[in-house]
């Protein structure tokens, strides 16, 4: 085996120091194949080398947690002998290069993470960030990403039930596509990747291996530069039809006792999947690469081991179950091949044409994976902005219309109507509310699911932003009546080698950890995406949180649509009129500054528990949490959903902030509910020590806000529904 020249080492993204470590581990120079394997295994994407020290600080346990981080996805007990299994994952770089395929394969990848564990996927969500709407690429990227997510999810037949979208110039050169899948499995039949049984067969199934995506994992960890376009041929094409077959075939085989361990081939394909299975089981593997089903002639071992072809799985079978498994996969027209076996050597030995082409020790490679405590700098504190320092609008109604029609707040209907959000016939709350509600099939219980992050808060104050994202997810689940169970996170940042970026990362993770602890909302899975920057400019720190909660009784849930005239509107939580870093400040006053609203986790928990209690008792008819755009926007959304107006009168309170701050402030830990009569609820709130105040009454076809003319709901609807379709060039007659 000949040593690779230094430029080849550098091209594999390995530092000199890392290369020295390889020489130590092998006691010789690696050949090209081995170098490739080290390179992907030690890439940021696979090794989490910059993030690990911080991720370890997150709370990951609770009595209901079955599997925390470390498996393909997290698993929590949802009662009835079932587990919810979920995870979120980024496909940012591929989606920027080829939005349709990048987003589509992102959905495919996260689905596999979930059904690998034995779960039938029941819902997909997507958290998306695009650049400035006026940037020449934004429209094309948005169209492609949405079509790709729909194209894949619709075909596999898993409903896409929610997500979030933001636009910010900070994403001009690096969009974010974070996809989340939730699945359900029998609690006692969860599959992991831990191999066991020396001599057991290693089986390959799914699609054939092609030359696509080779070095995708290293690409996902490399900062974009001007030459990014040249990397294009590494784009993978997804085949959702094969994925659908793979889901059905895997679930069919999982119902038997044939499988010992199973692992999808994601980033770094055959390399990381076989490595991980062996490493977790403390065993070795021997692979016979001649047997790998290939799409192209003459593929080299390097190409086979590093290919990121989609829709592939690796399994360890119990002895003698090969024929059973083969029968299942052939029934579903999928490739099936025994490509190797487990050994007790602790080594990965790769053979082709009767020769050993690679030989690596497994544990040392995994244990010696670099782990960096990178230097970091805290983000300087943003100045607090007093409500009175922000000018009131000339016209409250016009300000509200403007907010509702702004890119970050307008209706996402144009997006979710391209997603089949109802297939499987269990979608109880469709997109448009606080959290999607998906029934647990055949029961009257349901899961509530949401994704949340406010990047402008994370940017101004990372620690607070991280906590706020968790709090908002928790609140969104609470607002539909669910008991929040656990979260998955998707941490999207710039180059961690820059202390300022590392400071954002550390801050967000600390904030997430704090909020998760306070809310008993542990992190059970997640994903880190670093190097999201172009020419030295990092994206806004974006700590996307996917939250899952449980609804015990579908009769006891709430949605955001106003139901009947004459009901009381009750605002729960304290309103100080915080306008720093708010959407009002940005969209109406054209200022991007200030400290975000403080997050009081004790208040968050107390107010949320109170609201959940009201929903559980069947007291409230409607519930919406307050977030972007504050009270006025929340109320408008409720009016739109119910096609019913309301009249608002601010409470008489000497401490009331200026009216515009009261209406548009983004104070946290708040909900707006409707009740037939307000007194009992106000009384219960007093007893619970929860701030609550009646602020108006439902009815009519217009929204009457203090200090303004009534605005017809129809007018609000036009403002809310117009921007996105118009931006995408659609005329109503289309």
């Amino acid at each position: 085996m000949t040593a690779p020249p230094p430029n080849i080492v550098a091209e594999h993204g390995l530092s000199g120091e890392e290369y020295e470590r390889i020489l130590d581990i092998l006691g010789r120079a690696p050949n090209h194949l081995e170098l490739g394997i080290f390179s992907v295994m030690w890439s940021e994407h696979c090794s989490y080398k910059s993030s690990k020290v911080w991720l370890k600080t997150l709370p990951t346990t609770a009595p209901w947690v079955i599997h925390g981080p470390g498996e393909n996805a997290g698993a929590v007990d949802i009662g009835g002998g079932l587990a919810a299994i979920f995870k979120m994952e980024s496909h940012n770089h591929p989606s920027f290069i080829e939005p349709y395929q990048g987003a589509a394969t992102g959905v495919g990848g996260i689905l596999r993470d979930v059904f690998t564990m034995g779960a039938r996927p029941i819902a997909n969500l997507n958290a998306l960030r695009f650049g400035d709407p006026n940037h020449p690429k934004t429209r094309h990227l948005l169209a492609g990403v949405v079509a790709g997510i729909g194209g894949y999810g619709n075909c596999v037949g898993v409903p896409t039930v929610g997500g979030e979208v933001n636009f910010d110039p900070g994403y001009n050169g690096n969009i974010l596509v974070n996809a989340m899948t939730v699945g359900i499995a029998p609690k006692d039949r969860i599959f992991t990747s831990q191999a066991s049984g020396v001599g057991n067969s290693i089986v390959y199934t799914g699609s054939k291996t092609g030359r696509d995506g080779i070095h995708g994992a290293t690409m996902a960890s490399a900062e974009f530069g001007e030459g990014a376009e040249e990397k294009r041929p590494t784009v993978q094409v997804g085949d959702p039809f094969t994925e659908k077959l793979l889901i059905e075939a895997c679930l069919e085989l999982m119902a038997t006792d044939a499988i010992v361990a199973i692992q999808d081939m994601g980033a770094a394909g055959l390399t990381s999947s076989s490595f991980e299975m062996a490493s977790k089981g403390g065993l070795g593997v021997e692979l016979d690469l001649d047997r790998v089903p290939c799409r192209e002639d003459g593929m080299t071992p390097y190409e086979m081991m590093l290919s990121e072809s989609q829709e592939r799985m690796l399994m360890v079978l119990k002895p003698g179950r090969e024929d059973l498994a083969r029968g299942v996969f052939e029934k579903w027209d999928l490739d099936f091949a025994v490509i190797g076996r487990l050994t007790d050597t602790g080594r990965m030995v790769l053979r082709m044409h009767g020769e050993t082409v690679g030989d690596l020790p497994i544990d040392p490679l995994a244990e010696a994976a670099p782990e960096y405590r990178r230097p970091y700098e805290d983000t300087p504190e943003a100045p607090a902005i007093a409500p009175s320092a922000v000018p009131a609008p000339d016209d409250t109604g016009a300000a509200l219309r403007r907010l509702l029609g702004s890119p970050d707040l307008c209706s996402r209907r144009w997006i979710w109507e391209q997603y089949d959000h109802m297939v499987m016939a269990d979608t109880v709350q469709r997109p448009g509310g606080d959290a999607a509600v998906v029934r647990i099939h055949g029961t009257t219980r349901a899961l509530a699911i949401t994704t949340d992050c406010t990047p402008r808060y994370c940017q101004a104050a990372p620690h607070l932003g991280g906590a706020q994202a968790v709090a908002e997810a928790w609140r969104n689940l609470t607002a539909v009546g669910a008991r929040p169970l656990a979260v998955t996170d998707n941490l999207n940042f710039g180059n961690p080698e820059r202390p300022a970026v590392m400071g954002q990362f550390a801050g967000c993770v600390q904030g997430i950890g704090e909020a998760c602890r306070a809310l008993e909302f542990p992190v059970v899975s997640g994903n880190v995406s670093l190097y999201n920057e172009t020419n030295g400019k990092a994206i806004p720190p974006t700590a996307a949180i996917g939250g899952v909660g449980l609804i015990e009784d579908l009769e006891r849930t709430a949605d955001i649509a106003l139901k009947a005239a004459g009901e009381a509107l009750v605002l729960i939580g304290e309103t100080r009129g915080h306008l720093g870093a708010s959407l009002y400040l940005r969209e109406v006053a054209d200022r991007r500054e200030g400290a975000p609203p403080p997050v009081d986790l004790a208040a968050e928990r107390r107010n949320g528990d109170f609201v959940r209690g009201l929903i559980g008792a069947g007291t409230v008819t409607t519930c919406h949490d307050l977030s972007d755009g504050g009270l006025a926007v929340a109320l408008a959304e409720m009016a739109l959903a119910g096609d019913l107006g309301a009249q608002v009168t601010p409470p008489e309170d000497p401490a009331l902030p200026p009216l515009h701050a009261w209406l548009f402030g983004e104070d946290q830990a708040r909900y707006l509910v409707t009740v037939p009569t307000s007194e009992p609820v106000l009384e219960a709130a007093r007893r619970a020590g929860v701030p609550a105040v009646r602020i108006g009454t439902t009815g009519g076809d217009a929204l009457t806000l203090p200090g303004g003319q009534p605005i017809f709901v129809a007018e609000l609807r036009a403002a809310h529904e117009t921007w996105l379709p118009a931006y995408m060039g659609e005329t109503p007659a289309d």
Binding site: C155, Q418, D420, M424, A425, V428, D734
Partner: protein, 238 residues
């Protein structure tokens, strides 16, 4: 009643329609009829037990690659479905099932890409064009119902002379309409000619429709306008 749901590789509304039918059968059983559950029939099976109703479910059979429904129409089970349809066994095709029926020649016309080229998933209003059929007997002619669509290729086309014949024989089952029943472009989610959402064969024993009645056949899912279709079938075929 005995019903069979055909499962093609890539079908994904097979369970949904099975549940909707089973619920209709359970309701019928409560009134003294027989209950049961539709059986699933795998596309490679060239024969299956005698049934009173065959359902081709929604989804993306064979990925909808080449043309939607084209490969499914050639699968082994379809020979048998066509043979039985020829003998008068009722066949219901929903969404992808409708596409398969046109590809197999059991229904006239073809379904092409939506006019705006986008997948569309939303509730639409349908006008019941006739109650004179096995499938629509439980609706009143002219009634408006709300059911969802979810498809990429639901744009129905047929030659003018085919249309004349179909209109004459009452072969149009459903049309997309505004809430007041008028046939507007805005109410048409995919550009279908004459706002057609569903059609019968000449004997009205085969129905294909793009909307998904099985998705709004339960209160918990937000509506029950799809229910009478299944209740009517179960009642008539039991």
């Amino acid at each position: 009643m005995k019903a069979a749901v055909i499962v093609f590789p890539g079908s994904n509304c097979d369970r949904d329609v099975q549940v909707a039918l089973a619920q209709a059968m359970a309701r019928h059983a409560q009134k003294g009829g027989g209950g049961g559950t539709p059986t699933m029939v795998w596309h490679k099976d060239s024969d299956f037990e005698a049934v009173d109703l065959i359902v081709l479910p929604g989804g993306f059979s064979y990925g909808d690659y080449l043309r939607c429904g084209a490969m499914a129409a050639q699968s082994p089970v379809m020979k048998e479905v066509m043979r039985r349809a020829g003998k008068g066994v009722p066949v219901l095709g929903i969404c992808n099932g409708f596409q398969i029926l046109t590809e197999a020649g059991l229904l006239p016309g073809a379904l092409v890409r939506n006019a705006n080229l986008k997948f569309v998933c939303r509730d639409v209003t349908l006008r019941i064009e006739t109650s004179q059929s096995l499938f629509t007997a439980r609706y009143e002619a002219g009634a408006k119902i709300r059911v969802p669509v979810a498809h990429h290729d639901g744009n129905y086309i047929a030659a003018d002379e085919d249309f004349e014949r179909m209109e004459e024989r009452g072969q149009i089952a459903f049309r997309y309409c505004a809430p007041d029943g008028t046939l507007t472009t805005a109410a048409n989610p995919n550009g279908s000619a004459r706002n057609v959402a569903g059609v019968f064969n000449e004997t009205k024993t085969v129905l294909g429709l793009m909307p998904h009645p099985e998705r709004l056949a339960e209160d918990a899912l937000g509506g029950t306008d799809g229910r009478p279709l299944f209740d009517g079938l179960v009642e008539a075929l039991s």
